[in-house]
Each structure stands twice: as structure tokens, then as C-alpha cells.
């Protein structure tokens, strides 16, 4: 098992290097002078020249990348051209907010999705089953930013129950996490339902039932655990969608997270911050996938951890 985790970690290194190259390249691919792009729209010629020297833009790309990586490994991602503050400081302030929002959304998705999926599977073809599956179809198709605006309209503008945006108390977290979590909940509900139905057809479930076990024990103790394996995989993969969706939801609810910072920075042409935000989101995604793989290996003993075990 440890060997598997080590191997999986090793595989993540080239991916992370690749991500760093792509993020490094963003600024070099933009048409025009990268120094002008980094210095900002209103920069003086002297400032542009200073940026060019600092970033070694007259040197070869390999030298520039080496310097970029050395700085990156020391936690130096440059300075924002808008606020003039270090990019790392900006990211450090915003990142926890995105984590809070994503975790809350994942909580909503798991609770809503798994409950709906389990009830649908155990009460197949009931009204609940039909309505929750139709709800799931709509939930996957609804644009997350529109859903957010509709929630704002209903719960903040019309009913006045919840705040329409910003960050503050627990109440501020409800609408954004509900918005972000519902699409994932829809997907989790569909997967849980089909996975539960598959498991409930297995022989060992028939055996458990014929032993006279209560249906509740059969469902929750025998079926659910095995039915959860594909659900966990989907949850892991969905984290990426959540991070992507967070960019939109944070904009709708003025939530001060990385996604909103990234969009604001793109519109302001504050490229160092854009680079930092993209890098942080991608690295987070890679790390989550790594974690999911490891959890998946723990849950499903059929996965081989290496050649020895596979034999």
C-alpha cells in the first residue's frame, strides 16, 4: 500500500511540472510584449524595462523558466500589477475562502445526493424516485451561475431570509454552497441510485435477506458499503468541477475566493495574479485526485498496489 502511494506521488511530479510550464507559458503566449503585459496597462517605459530585466525576458526561455521555478519554489510568485502586493499574499488571503466554499458544497452534494440516490433505489419507480431523478437531470443541466441568481432572487430579494452575497456569518455560506453543490448532488444521486440497484441485485444481498435480516440492515449494512465505491470516485472527480464552478459561484455571490480573484485579475490584465491563481487551482486539483486514488485503493481491495500483490 505504501509503495502504491509512493508510486502515485511520483506520477504526480511530472504532471505538476507540466502544469508549471503551462502556467509559465501563459504570459509568453499573449500577443505582444510580455513585459508590458506584466507591468500593466499604465506602466511607464522605465517600469516596463525594469520588468524585462527582472524577468530576464531577453534571455532564453530555459533560463526564464529556471528563474521562474526557483522563485516559485521559494514562494515568490511576483507582485500584483493592480494592488502592488505579493501574489502569494493575495492567494493566501483568498484560498481558505474557496476551500470553505468547496467543502461546504461537497457536504451539501454528498448529503443531498446520497440520500436521494439511496431512497430512489430502495423505493424504485415510486413518485420520489421519478421526481428526484427528474430533479437530478435538471440539476446537471442548469447553469450554476443562473441557479445562484435564482436563489438570490427567491431567498434574498423576495423572502429576505438569507443574505444575497459577500462573506460573513454562517448564513452567508448557505446560498453559495447550495448553488455550487446542487449539480454535484444531482450527479451523486444518479450514480448512488444505479450503483445501489446493481448491488441490491447481487447474490449476497439475497442471502442476507433470506437469513431474515431486516431490510434496513440489508440496505445500510450490506449494500451501501459496496455501492459507495463508484460514488467516492465520482465525488473525487467532481471536486474539479466544483473548483471550476467556484469561479462562477464566487462571482455571483461576491465571495472573496480564488476564483473571483482570478476573474477580476483577467479583466484587469493583472497577469501575475492570474498565473498564481491558475497554478494554485490546478495544483489543488492534482492533489485531490491523488487523495481520491489513495482512498479508492483503501476502499476497494481488488485494486492491485504493485506487481507482487497483483500476482
Amino acid at each position: 500500500m505504501l509503495g502504491y502511494i509512493f508510486k502515485r506521488l511520483m506520477l504526480a511530479i511530472p504532471v505538476l511540472l507540466g502544469v508549471s510550464i503551462l502556467v509559465f507559458a501563459i504570459i509568453r503566449f499573449i500577443p505582444g510584449d510580455p513585459a508590458r503585459a506584466i507591468a500593466g496597462v499604465h506602466a511607464t517605459p522605465q517600469h516596463i524595462e525594469q520588468v524585462r530585466r527582472e524577468m530576464l525576458l531577453d534571455e532564453g526561455l530555459h533560463v526564464q523558466y529556471y528563474v521562474y521555478m526557483s522563485n516559485l519554489l521559494q514562494g515568490d510568485l511576483g507582485r500584483s500589477t493592480f494592488s502592488r502586493r505579493p501574489v502569494v499574499t493575495e492567494l493566501r488571503e483568498r484560498f481558505p475562502n474557496t476551500v470553505i466554499l468547496s467543502l461546504a458544497a461537497m457536504f451539501v452534494a454528498t448529503v443531498v445526493g446520497m440520500s436521494a440516490g439511496i431512497i430512489s433505489a430502495t423505493k424504485r419507480y415510486s413518485i420520489f424516485d421519478y421526481s428526484s431523478m427528474v430533479g437530478a437531470l435538471v440539476g446537471v443541466a442548469a447553469p450554476v451561475f443562473w441557479l445562484g441568481i435564482m436563489f438570490q432572487l427567491l431567498f434574498a430579494v423576495r423572502l429576505g431570509w438569507l443574505p444575497s452575497g459577500q462573506m460573513g456569518t454562517f448564513k452567508h455560506l448557505i446560498l453559495p454552497s447550495l448553488t455550487l453543490g446542487l449539480a454535484t448532488a444531482a450527479l451523486i444521486a444518479r450514480i448512488t441510485r444505479s450503483s445501489m440497484l446493481d448491488v441490491l441485485r447481487q447474490d449476497y444481498i439475497t442471502t442476507a435477506r433470506s437469513k431474515g435480516l431486516a431490510e434496513r440492515v440489508v440496505t445500510y449494512k450490506h449494500a451501501l458499503k459496496n455501492a459507495l465505491i463508484p460514488v467516492v470516485t465520482v465525488m473525487g472527480l467532481q471536486f474539479g468541477t466544483l473548483l471550476g464552478g467556484a469561479v462562477l459561484v464566487e462571482t455571483v455571490f461576491s465571495w472573496p475566493g480564488i476564483g473571483r480573484l482570478m476573474v477580476e485579475s483577467i479583466l484587469r490584465r493583472d497577469y501575475p495574479v492570474v498565473q498564481g491563481a491558475v497554478l494554485l487551482l490546478a495544483v489543488t486539483f492534482v492533489m485531490i485526485n491523488l487523495l481520491v486514488d489513495v482512498i479508492y485503493a483503501f476502499l476497494d481491495p481488488r485494486i492491485s498496489y504493485g506487481s507482487k500483490e497483483a500476482e
Partner: protein, 296 residues
């Protein structure tokens, strides 16, 4: 060298029968039929928008700004007094075009790369797989945002960005399909007859990978429409006065308290179009999966 006629004919006959079976199963699937009707309506709206729209989508009339839905303007007017219904009708053109063109970009680049990667294996495959790993390290919409950051805003750039973001999905999917198909007997037979690799890939392997590609493309169009609307909403997509649904929604948000129809209806349009593609995709997946067909 000519290919053995009987083998080719048999393959064609098999494909023809499968095609009929798929159509039959699709016709029996209620969800897929609903999806097809929804898409047909949107297609008609997109093609005949100039005939169906009661007003010019860019004609403004400040005297009638932010009017609620009425007999004259069935979905109301926007902040410049433009007819919302006409704008939504024309918007279906943009969304469908973005969906179809971006998926075509993904297909044109992703399918050959996946096919070559799966067929030849070796160092090229290894290199491609690592490259795809890197691209997949970015959540889809984030990759599209990165590409738009580089190219700049605008409808054409959104198509390219969303297309680029879907390349890794196709490459991985086709590679997987090719890996299993290339072990089939007819591929070995074609190879034994001395048929060139390019011809084997195009005539024998890719046609047998079509099922998953078609299903994925249907879902991918839906995803592309959502991503493009998201970019439009963030101000990184189509620019005014283009009646793009995401951008319309973003602008309408400013007037949510006085004219919520400006956000409600463009959002519903996106939802319905995406739902249509998803329902058809679900139906196609079920119809193309022999296991599912038997169990029904």
C-alpha cells in the same frame, strides 16, 4: 492491394444492422425523444431566427426599457428596450454554433491524437499520455479560461478555448477504444493482408470506435454550451451587443430587483438546450450499449 470483399461487406452489413437497432432503441426511449424534440425546436429557432423574431435583436428603444412581459413583448424588454424574446431566439444561434464548432475542434484534434496514441503505443503514446495528464490537471472551464486569457475575449476565441479544453477528453476516450479494438481479429486479418496502418486506422478501427465518440460528443456539446455561457457570464465571452445567453444573464443581473425576466429566461434557455443534449446523450448511450439493450 485490394481488400477481401467479403470481410468488408460483412463489416458494412454488421454496421448497418447495428445502426437500425440503435435507431429502434432510441425511438423507444421516451427521454431521448423529448430531448430530440427540444433540440429540434432550438434548431428551428436558430435557423429561422430572422423570420421568427418579432423585432431586430439589436434595435434599442430607451422609452420602453425594462418592460415586463406583455402581449407586445412576450418576454419583456432589456435595459436598452430591446425585445428579450428576439434576443433569446438569436442567442440560440450563438450557443448552438459554439457547441458544435468547439466540439468539432475537439474531435478534429483529439480523435487523431488518441487513435495514433492507442494504435502505435510506445514512446509517442507515453508522451501523449503525460501531456493529457497535464491538460486534465485543469478543471475543464479553468482550461477554457486560461485559453481565453491568452487569446482575448470574443465568440470565436470562446469556441477555440472550449474546443481546446475538450481535446484531452477525446484523446483519452479514443485511445481507450482503439486499444481494445486493435486486438480484434479483423484488424489482425487486415494487417496480415498487408494493408497500411493509416488505412487500418481509418477504415477498420475508427468506425468501430464511433459509438463512444458519438455519445461523448453529445454530452460534450452540452458541456461546451455551459462553459461558453459561463465565460459569457464572466465577461470573457461574447461581447455586447451580441445576444449571447451568458452575457445577457450577466447584464440582466444588474436589474434583478426590477426586471427578473432578464435573468430568468436566458437561463431557462440554456437549461433546456443543455437538457436536450443530455437526454439525447443518455438515450444514445443506452442504445449503443449492447448490455443495456439485452437487459431491457
Amino acid at each position: 492491394m485490394s481488400e477481401p470483399v467479403s470481410t468488408c461487406r460483412r463489416e458494412e452489413l454488421k454496421r448497418d444492422t447495428e445502426f437500425r437497432q440503435v435507431l429502434m432503441h432510441l425511438r423507444r426511449n421516451r427521454g431521448a425523444m423529448v430531448g430530440l424534440i427540444v433540440l429540434a425546436v432550438f434548431l428551428i429557432c436558430a435557423v429561422f431566427a430572422p423570420l421568427l423574431a418579432p423585432y431586430d435583436p439589436t434595435d434599442s428603444n430607451l422609452g420602453r426599457a425594462l418592460e415586463k412581459p406583455s402581449a407586445e413583448h412576450i418576454l419583456g424588454t432589456d435595459e436598452l428596450g430591446r425585445d428579450s424574446f428576439s434576443r433569446i431566439l438569436f442567442g440560440s444561434r450563438i450557443s448552438l454554433a459554439i457547441g458544435l464548432i468547439s466540439v468539432s475542434i475537439g474531435l478534429v484534434v483529439g480523435v487523431p491524437l488518441g487513435a495514433l496514441s492507442g494504435f502505435y503505443g510506445g514512446k509517442f503514446d507515453l508522451f501523449m499520455q503525460r501531456l493529457i495528464d497535464i491538460l486534465i490537471a485543469f478543471p475543464g472551464i479553468l482550461l477554457a479560461i486560461v485559453v481565453v486569457t491568452i487569446l482575448g475575449v470574443g465568440v470565436e476565441n470562446v469556441m477555440i478555448a472550449v474546443g481546446v479544453a475538450s481535446i484531452p477528453i477525446y484523446t483519452r476516450l479514443v485511445r481507450g477504444s482503439v486499444l481494445s479494438v486493435k486486438e480484434e481479429g479483423y484488424v489482425a486479418a487486415a494487417r496480415a493482408l498487408g494493408i497500411g496502418n493509416t488505412r487500418i486506422i481509418i477504415r477498420h478501427i475508427l468506425p468501430n470506435c464511433l459509438g463512444p465518440i458519438i455519445v461523448q460528443s453529445t454530452f460534450q456539446i452540452a458541456t461546451a454550451i455551459l462553459w461558453a455561457a459561463g465565460l459569457g457570464f464572466l465577461g470573457l465571452g461574447a461581447q455586447p451587443p451580441n445576444p449571447e445567453w451568458g452575457a445577457m444573464l450577466s447584464k440582466g443581473r444588474e436589474y434583478i430587483r426590477v426586471a427578473h425576466h432578464l435573468t430568468t429566461y436566458p437561463g431557462l434557455a440554456i437549461l433546456l438546450m443543455v437538457l436536450g443534449f443530455n437526454l439525447v446523450g443518455d438515450g444514445l448511450r443506452d442504445a449503443l450499449d449492447p448490455k443495456f439493450r439485452k437487459s431491457r
